[in-house]
Subunit: 531 residues, 2 copies
């Protein structure tokens, strides 16, 4: 495959000129060829108009056909894995094994949604039979989920494959029956374009209208803003910083027609280590904690950025081990120079906060081009932590914060003080859990996922996964961006009243030709309907 | 029961003084005793704080207990039906039989949600079993829906019972496990307080914390604004005008923590009468249309406010019959003087719009105190309709607009021009449906409910009902405010990773003690789980 440096507008490539931009190799600081060109307002308009045209067809396509489409994309990605990993490695400096497993995750996500579509019950079909005898007579009512229209997805910097062009947001939006317009992340434009070409080929192979998929490049923010404001766009998916996510939320809310935004903006993912677990397994929890907060250079949305510990000797042993892990660590290469300097400022600021001590820090390379940073652990006293919301904020990179408390009541107070997070983790014995059952009750209202005796990094792609949480971790805590439930973000229920069999979608027909699970008069069944 | 004129703050009544306000009898224009007093900022704070306290308990209560609570409210409402109907009739001038059936609808809604809770499967429990053999090892993941926290519900002017204090929004928010704070509609404060007392008694009878329910009075907008902006409030339900709904949406989006708003803001509910149906059943459709657009003085969100007809002789016969129905009609009493004057201005403006003719109008009584208005039909030519978005806007009251088209292509163009509506209706024969299958495909993307050979007024409360639709008919077209699916607005998924059986909610335990339908490794089952 050849990287053209141009946006993909349906079946065509743009022909932009003007100021080019390039990807950077974070390990070497070198610019990578070729030149890329930002899309302009005409490309935005054309991509959205094509998407709107395609929606008339693609919004009606069967689950089986959409499933085939997602499987085609997955197969093409697998077929190009070496090329994708090579380019992604140059653009992100992420280790090849990680990129290989991310490619597998990307194909796996597409196939998971294909399975969901082929099985078919996800549409939440509901049938309430007519009752002519009731007063007033009850009409026949049947509802199911339908698609929304053109959806804009922003590629993420930290997942060049699994949360970018054909990642989880795209897979779920396409699965729900929506055309997708990608705003590619400028940190990995080559990887984005390569994957975009594979999706475009898949659209063609499946005979769908070209507007089902477009990909727009931009080194700045203009294209993203224009897409979010475009009147034909019906929803937005985003993974990235709080600042950018909130700007998208505000722009979407200020439209003449406000639209839903599903922004995953990261969080600090508090970890509570309870006394029994600390005593029994402190050493292994400490090494697990170190691995989790430095995994991927700490550039995961689920990185554990706060650890709450009792103020006892077991905790001192735990922290000493964590410090020595940090001091023995290698330097970490960040994804972009912007992320690196944000990490450096954030850790620098943290050193000056009242009540905060630096416990250990691995010095970083002085070579700015290499984008290297060192891991760090801070400690804050409880009062300072409760007083200063900055200390609960995410530091994107390999740093974490220890907070030691002095009583059960203080643990609960600390938990209550937390904002919304993607995850919270509890390490405990069965006895700990009994003693701290109210801690679980508090944390349940703060997060999308509660982890017990594990670590929050490593987000399984499955049916029960919830990768979401109350604001500010996401824009809408009633949703997940990972796992099959992500499809529910991009659809809405439509009810058919008094429709003849011939005009109903297959999912709602009497005979239940797709054999799906439906709710009939309030009961769950996959039987055909007898009237 | 005695009407105190004071807000209900948990188990207590407020003790406000200051400028009193009164309800008005729309039929006579008389002020109705007693005096009512607006809540102040302290009551707002106290109601929300009590709700937040109550959430710690009420958010954990079992489905069975919540079901009993909703059934208690329903029984108390039925026990007080005569008193409620009498006061509501004075405050709204709605006919007693309508108010009696609205009371039954209110109790019915509460019992429908009780059934949903007692059955239990609504929580969408999902279990993905662990797989230690996969790489990396798969953890045990289990997710289900949980409640959000304090929810604010605005009472509606046009449904003093079914969309007010214990109406559909309240029932669904309580069912999902959220404490509710009502902002009562000032048009029927006495009815609101009476129902509020019944809910308060039900909270006490069930032994729940007092903060599960509060009701705040206000003659103006201050209390509503303060509630929407309160940091502890997690969601809002509203039924009313577009202007008020949009103001609430904007305030909620501008918060530090934006919260979801479910505003049902009404719509024009287009009706398409296709040629075959018009020829075969024109007369009965015309009389059905008249009944539907004048039902409840045209003050239903689902009132059909536009009728699209072919430009043939059958249509002339149809329109002539509609005109004569209007000319023979009695006057209609509107709910409030504000709604009456809005109707008078809107119909007055419509007479001056380019391309619009008044086809028939029943003169209204000159007695302003009686709040009477006359029904009206307008006609617009296709081009003016397409050019002027005002003509597709809702006129709240007994008026509708006829638009005659000249071709199949024009029907589709008219359909494509429509904004979001709650409903769209098609009258057609089987042959019409075949010829106009693309009309259904277009309308499906514009509405929450498609009605075939019926009328949109009369919104059945059931599992498959969707009373929602794309903006501007609602704030979030991915939801319904009527029927059991309304519960999904007020909850969010939470995932438990690696939890021991003893710390899991009943819905997610291996033994499936509640016997609910769950998704286990992607398959639907109500069996117990074997590991």
């Amino acid at each position: 495959m050849k990287i053209s440096g141009q946006s993909i507008i349906g079946s065509h490539s743009a022909l932009n000129a003007g100021q080019p931009f390039r990807a950077t190799n974070p390990r070497t600081g070198e610019n990578l060829p070729p030149d890329f060109f930002s899309a302009g307002p005409e490309e935005v308009n054309r991509a959205v108009s094509l998407a709107q045209q395609a929606f008339a067809t693609y919004g009606q396509v069967s689950g089986r056909e959409k499933g085939k489409f997602l499987r085609t994309i997955a197969a093409r990605i697998e077929g190009a894995v070496d090329e994708l990993v090579e380019r992604a490695e140059q653009e992100t400096a992420l280790p090849k094994p990680r990129l290989q497993s991310e490619t597998a995750r990307t194909s796996g996500q597409l196939r998971l949604f294909a399975q969901v579509l082929e099985e078919g019950s996800w549409v939440m079909a509901r049938i309430d039979r007519a009752d002519a005898g009731s007063k007033p007579p009850k009409p026949d009512l049947r509802s199911m989920l339908h698609s929304l229209g053109p959806v804009v997805i922003f590629g993420a910097s930290n997942f060049p494959l699994a949360f970018s062009v054909a990642g989880g947001d795209t897979a779920s939006a396409l699965a729900a029956g929506n055309p997708v317009i990608i705003k590619a992340h400028p940190a990995h434009p080559g990887t984005s374009e390569l994957v975009g070409q594979l999706v475009r080929e898949s659209v063609q192979e499946c005979g769908f209208p070209e507007g089902v998929f477009s990909l727009l490049l931009d080194s700045g923010t203009e294209v993203g803003v224009a897409l979010v404001k475009h009147p034909l766009v019906k929803a937005v998916g985003f993974t990235g910083s709080h600042k950018a996510g909130r700007a998208i939320m505000d722009a979407a809310a200020a439209r003449r027609e406000p639209i839903p935004v599903f922004a995953e903006m990261g969080s600090t993912n508090p970890v509570f280590i309870l006394p029994g677990a600390l005593r029994e397994n402190g050493e292994s929890i400490s090494s697990g904690m170190y691995k989790s907060f430095t995994l991927g250079a700490g550039q995961f949305c689920t990185k554990p950025g706060i650890v709450f510990l009792p103020g006892n000797d077991d905790a001192t042993t735990f922290v000493d081990k964590l410090k020595s892990s940090v001091l023995q660590s290698s330097q970490f290469n960040m994804l972009t120079s912007g992320i690196r300097s944000a990490y450096q400022s954030a850790t620098g600021r943290r050193k000056t906060e009242t009540g905060v001590k630096l416990l250990a820090e691995r010095p970083a390379s002085a070579n700015d081009q290499e984008l290297g940073v060192g891991a760090a652990i801070f400690e804050a006293d409880t009062e300072s932590f409760l007083r200063n919301p900055e200390l609960a904020a995410e530091v994107f990179g390999p740093a974490t914060l220890v907070v030691r408390h002095s009583s059960r009541a203080q643990v609960l107070e600390l938990a209550r003080s937390l904002d919304g997070h993607l995850t919270a983790t509890i390490h405990g014995t069965e006895a700990d859990l009994r003693e701290f059952s109210d801690l679980i009750a508090i944390l349940k209202n703060k997060v999308g996922r509660l982890v017990f005796n594990g670590f929050p990094t490593g987000v399984e792609v499955s049916h029960a996964m919830v990768h979401g949480g109350p604001y500010p971790s996401t824009s809408d805590g009633r949703s997940t961006s990972v796992g099959s439930q992500a499809i529910f973000r991009f659809c809405r229920p439509v009810c058919y009243q008094g429709f003849p069999e011939s005009a109903l979608p297959d999912e709602l027909r009497n005979g239940n030709p797709l054999g799906i699970w439906r709710m009939v008069d309030g009961g769950t069944t996959r039987e055909a309907l007898t009237l």
